[in-house]
Subunit: 339 residues, 2 copies
């Protein structure tokens, strides 16, 4: 069998491999896709031919045939600057990328922070170039979620979407329980006046961390000890100054994330207070920020790897036709020096 070599500059196709290996196109495809029904000889010949020709499957032909894209969008419902300011975000994104790769899927980042970006992202998704969407957003504009649902695109949300959005699958840390744990920890340290630097009031998930705090303190909770931040370090700083000036007697603060906790510690120190002696500070997330400050921050560890793994798994199931599922993962108290 004489195989005419591919024309120069042309990408080798499956037919070039078939000719080189001396088998049919179908056999090459089966060998490449790990199908059974391929003899060891044929398998070897195909592998050698692939190497020799430098063959790479054409994603368009495959996608057209399989009606499957082989990639998933990581959709960012937030402004880039905000996302980048949050150390959790890189962790999440890296985890998702690795987890998807392990399933043979590639990750495509799509921005949807502005109305214009949203339109573009939905447009891209509409062309069928992705099989599903991982949606990350920490504020409350979930209209994109509705659009995605309407278009029938398998979607998994990271966090807890608004109550009632049960048509969307999601994976979330147990924010409520985590907050209860943290407050109980502070109580166990003998603290009695525990304030909170809460998530912004428009936070996704109905402010479960605040609810956990209120629940743990029971009827003794004092709403005037709650100040809202915006998850930034600077807002933690401001909130702490506000709390200390209005309520100098507080002996502990639970901040809804480590970044705000770090800001709170800085603010307390700037006022000559010692942490945790004068005031204990607890955080949430166990992000890099928790250990980049002295004292290192006691915090609730979010199981990020687990979260991204489960997001991938549930999304794949949805892509395979399963209905959306929810999942809530427990957080773990990490005691350091700040409490």
């Amino acid at each position: 069998m004489t195989s005419s070599p591919p024309a120069p500059g042309r990408r080798p196709t499956i037919d070039d491999v078939a000719a080189e290996a001396g088998v049919s196109r179908g056999t090459v495809s089966r060998a490449l896709n790990g199908n059974h029904w391929v003899s060891p000889d044929a398998q070897r010949a195909v592998e050698a031919a692939v190497k020799k020709t430098g063959y790479r499957v054409n994603a368009y032909a495959r996608g057209l045939r399989r009606r499957r894209a082989g990639s998933v969008a990581f959709l960012l419902g937030e402004d880039l600057d905000q996302m980048f300011a949050d150390p959790n975000f890189a962790t999440l994104m890296r985890g998702a990328s690795e987890s998807l790769a392990a399933s043979g899927l590639s990750m495509v980042l799509l921005l949807a922070g502005s109305a214009e970006e949203q339109a573009r992202a939905l447009d891209f998704i509409g062309t069928g170039q992705i099989d599903g969407v991982m949606f990350v957003s920490w504020h409350h504009d979930l209209s994109v979620l509705a659009d995605l649902n309407r278009a029938g695109v398998p979607t998994i949300f990271c966090g807890t979407p608004e109550a009632g959005t049960s048509t969307t699958g999601y994976v979330s840390a147990d924010d409520f329980d985590g907050s209860v744990q943290m407050v109980q920890h502070l109580l166990s340290r003998g603290r009695t006046r525990i304030a909170m630097i809460a998530p912004p009031s428009d936070a996704v998930g109905g402010n479960l961390r605040l609810e956990g705090y209120l629940k743990a303190l029971g009827p003794g909770a004092d709403e005037s000890l709650v100040v809202h931040g915006d998850y930034s370090r600077e807002s933690g700083r401001r909130a702490m100054l506000e709390l200390l000036s209005a309520h100098p007697e507080i002996d502990a603060v639970f901040a809804a994330n480590d970044l705000m906790a770090a800001g709170a510690i800085e603010a307390a120190q700037s006022l000559g207070k010692e942490v945790p002696r004068d005031i204990a500070v607890g955080g949430f997330d166990d992000s890099a920020a928790a250990v980049s400050i002295t004292p290192a921050i006691t915090t609730m560890r979010q199981p990020f790897r687990r979260i991204t793994n489960e997001m991938t798994r549930l999304l794949l199931q949805q892509i395979d036709g399963e209905p959306p599922a929810h999942m809530t993962l427990r957080t773990e108290l990490v005691v350091r020096e700040s409490t």
Copy 2:
């Protein structure tokens, strides 16, 4: 002509549109692609049919036919955490995304910060799902660039790649000239002992900002007044402390980016020095960091929008078969309060 409606759950295809509009598939395609040779009547009928059926072009069929993907990779040669710490990065990414969108291309983010990620990214690129690559990396591992060149993928680099890498197209701010301008500005302010917080020694582009500084000072330059940072705020802080302790007589510092300049100002202030009275501090980039501190930082403005626009333009030319081109854009002095 009776058109059988698309089966429920099936995406409408071009044939559904053709049936609905009462024209042939070819006419629909021509109408959709803005081709001439379509009668106004046909054009209208097609547009109505598209709206009615909710037709979206199938990207795989189109890509297979056109041998063009319609999307470009934004390839990150850096670790995510490092990128996210740099305010320029979000600016660059947003600009690239918008600029590509304006040309009808979508942007796909690909990570190549680790060897594993590099392999995955090259693999994805190899399947032909993207037409070209915008490569952003601020350190010196340019092996990916070589891989991309070998694979014949149109690539445009953001910044100045190592001298001699002339096979790659790039767009860059004129770092050398910008640094000369800044030093001249400091000299014009009557400063005589000007230190520098330079880029890391393995920075991409052979440390042009440092070279500009040395050039502007001429034979009077004192290498002992140069300390290398790593572009982070914290490194600027450390560098400033080091400089002030070894050379208390310095009256100005030029930091290679705004983040380090901000750190330097904080360090100076922590030692009781007033900026600019006791010591002037100049930055580079005109990023958000420049105006988020008091005093606001005098800096060299990088023309980011122009950079991303030119990157898009040059990349599109390469995709169309033009040879790679270089472009260097002038930076502009922005005088604020720190000098």
